[in-house]
């Protein structure tokens, strides 16, 4: 929490500055609300969501006759919390063998997230094996292996350029053979607009589905908190293609705001399960709407 807060501190200043500066005696209400809207846009909340949040704030402020900036911040916070609460999600893994697919565009932090997740699940009593399905990017497999060794889990790999679905299949088999219970599949980064690469990902999903006779238990979409409105597109397309069950919002330790999860929550409604708040393996936290709203404001 303190880390998340520290990470969002700059954001908080901006938004707080905006709200406090906005609600001052010399300003009309319209100007004040316009500035609050700007503050939200500066956090990547997006024009539409920012507009609607401010409209709601205006309605509530009018209804309760509030003009005090502190009260306004509290109101704004609760509006954000109300938007995010319905998408607060937790990992849902069965008792037996579970498969988690980790997907996303290039450079969002999938491999790091896989290692953090492995560490977290091991600490909670599960036994994890990793599938190095990024057979495309140079040295991606080595990166996962090194991170896997650090958290004490084995990585199933093929040669570079191999079929990712085959790696996933082997990892599922290896998991059963070694008496383990959780496979985390690290996939190659791909832009959601590349139809053929999305097909490849669907194939990984199909092969896993066949191997365990049910769809993957979790398909986690990793989103970079630095990303702007394009994250909406990413969430929409990945959800449609591979049935995303949850979002991991990474790189929240920077000055990035991750405000784009607000329109994602409103428009797409994928549960948000984790936030990444640092480079340490411990730095994967449960997502909490209340904490996020507090830290954002």
């Amino acid at each position: 929490m303190s880390r998340l807060r520290a990470g969002l501190a700059r954001t908080r200043q901006t938004l707080a500055t905006h709200v406090q500066g906005a609600v001052s005696p010399g300003r009309t209400a319209d100007e004040a609300f316009e500035r609050i809207e700007e503050g939200l846009i500066a956090c990547d909340v997006g024009v539409r969501a920012a507009g609607e949040i401010v409209a709601e704030l205006r309605r509530r402020a009018r209804a309760s006759g509030v003009r005090d900036s502190g009260e306004m911040v509290r109101m704004l916070r609760s509006i954000v919390r109300e938007i995010l609460q319905p998408v607060e999600g937790r990992l849902a893994l069965p008792d037996g063998v579970a498969v988690i697919l980790v997907v996303g565009v290039n450079g969002v932090g999938k491999t790091t997230t896989v290692a953090k997740l492995a560490h977290r699940l091991q600490a909670r009593g599960r036994s994890v094996i990793l599938a190095a399905c990024d057979t495309f990017r140079a040295a991606a497999v080595e990166q996962l292996e090194i991170l896997g060794r650090r958290v004490g889990v084995e990585t199933i790999r093929h040669r570079q350029g191999g079929d990712p679905a085959a790696v996933a299949y082997d990892a599922v088999r290896a998991c059963a053979a070694r008496g383990l219970d959780t496979v985390i599949v690290d996939t190659a980064g791909r832009l959601h607009t590349r139809a053929n690469l999305m097909e490849e990902l669907k194939k990984v999903r199909r092969v896993v589905t066949r191997a365990v006779e049910r769809p993957p238990d979790e398909v986690l979409l990793v989103l970079d908190a630095t990303t702007g409105q394009n994250a909406l597109q990413q969430a929409g397309v990945f959800k449609e293609s591979v049935g995303v069950t949850g979002i991991v919002l990474t790189k929240l330790d920077g000055t990035s705001k991750g405000g784009v999860i607000i329109p994602i929550a409103r428009e797409i409604g994928i549960p948000i399960k984790f936030v990444g708040v640092g480079e340490d393996v411990e730095d994967l936290r449960d997502f909490s709407a209340a904490e996020f709203a507090d830290a954002l404001l």
Binding site: G109, A138, Q143, T193, N196, T226, T227, Q233, T255
Partner: protein
Amino acid sequence: MFESLSEKVQLAIRRLTGKGRLGEADVSEALREIRVALLEADVNYKVVKEFAARVRDRAVGREVMGSLSPARQVARIVHEEMSAIMGGADQRLVLSPRPPSVIMLVGLEGSGKTTTAGKLGIYLKKQGRRVILVAADVYRPAAGEQLKVVGGQAGLPVYAGAAGEDPVTTVRNAVLRAAREMGEVLIVDTAGRLHVDEPMMVELEEIKKVANPCEILLVADAMTGQEAVNVASAFNARLGLTGVVLTKLDGDARGGAALSIRAATGVPVKFVGTGERLDGLEAFHPERMASRILGMGDVLTLVERAEEAFDAEKSKEIERKVRKAEFGLDDFLEQLRGVRKMGPLDQVLAMIPGLARQAKKVQDAGCDERELARIEAIINSMTKAERASPSLIDASRKRRIAAGSGTTVQDVNRLLKQFEQVKLMVRQIQAFEKGRGGAKQFRGPLGPLGRM
């Protein structure tokens, strides 16, 4: 969503049509939509505000010029202002007159520095430079390994320090060695870092001191949101950036980051990266980016690629045939092959104004290389006479062609229908062009497609 927004902008601008003078209310209305489009494209909100104010100043009260509709006039002001913000003229890489020239790549984690190092290496190698890649990322597991693989693919030597060596030492040694071995350009791939990470920023300053680089390029993800400006400003304040490489522009990100960074820091965008293949690096053209952000397509890049892919003589011949209605299936195939040479169909379509949407449909329908291969097979299974005059093709011929190409009669029918549509479209476009009376228009070697 972006597509519909850019359509909204164009609609807003079009609403101005029929006015004699641009009134304040007209311009404000159009600007409101443009403001939304820019914000949705992740252009920094402060930049948007200033931009809107400047366009308003220039547009309000202006008399509508004779030939130009008010809508086009506002669109032109918007486009001009946007190109100006992005840096006006194209910005080139500046290498040191005394080799070795050092190019430092810096940026946040995951922005694409290592891939960019390989791409930039190939770009310079193609210009005849001897390039060495330097691995200065000692933090991310297997980062050096990745650069070695990239270097191998690019056919470029990679210099990496001993295990545990600090990156400043590695870079210092690399520069000394390059001087000895007549290396011309060193591309230093630094570790990704947060711009607020003090020790890591100090490291970059030290690398800069020992490397004395002629270019310090910020590698920035085109999908970055409002934070792009803060990131660029921070790196610029510490290091004095000479340029920006905008990566991952092959997705559907509008690239508002480019506009914002240039506007807020004055640092020009020099390159854009598209795709993971190592040849996916292009010089940045401000004007084209302005078109992309406004959803106006990227006709200039299209023309360039078309010129590379098409033989000018053949194109003239095809134009003549189209005019005389001799355009047959052979020519159709020729055109398709040319289009294929220009790159993936969806990328090509996305560059044509108003067709960005179709590009997405093409992609969704999976109508890609495979579809083209099928069309080729069908046409190849026809006789010469059939190709010249497709009206010959009756049911029995269709069955033969389908069997010959391993397709179905329905496939053959669909192709013939598409061909008829293309012919029709070409005629319409010709009529349209005639109507506009010689407006300067891309009369490219592309034949039918070029005039869409």
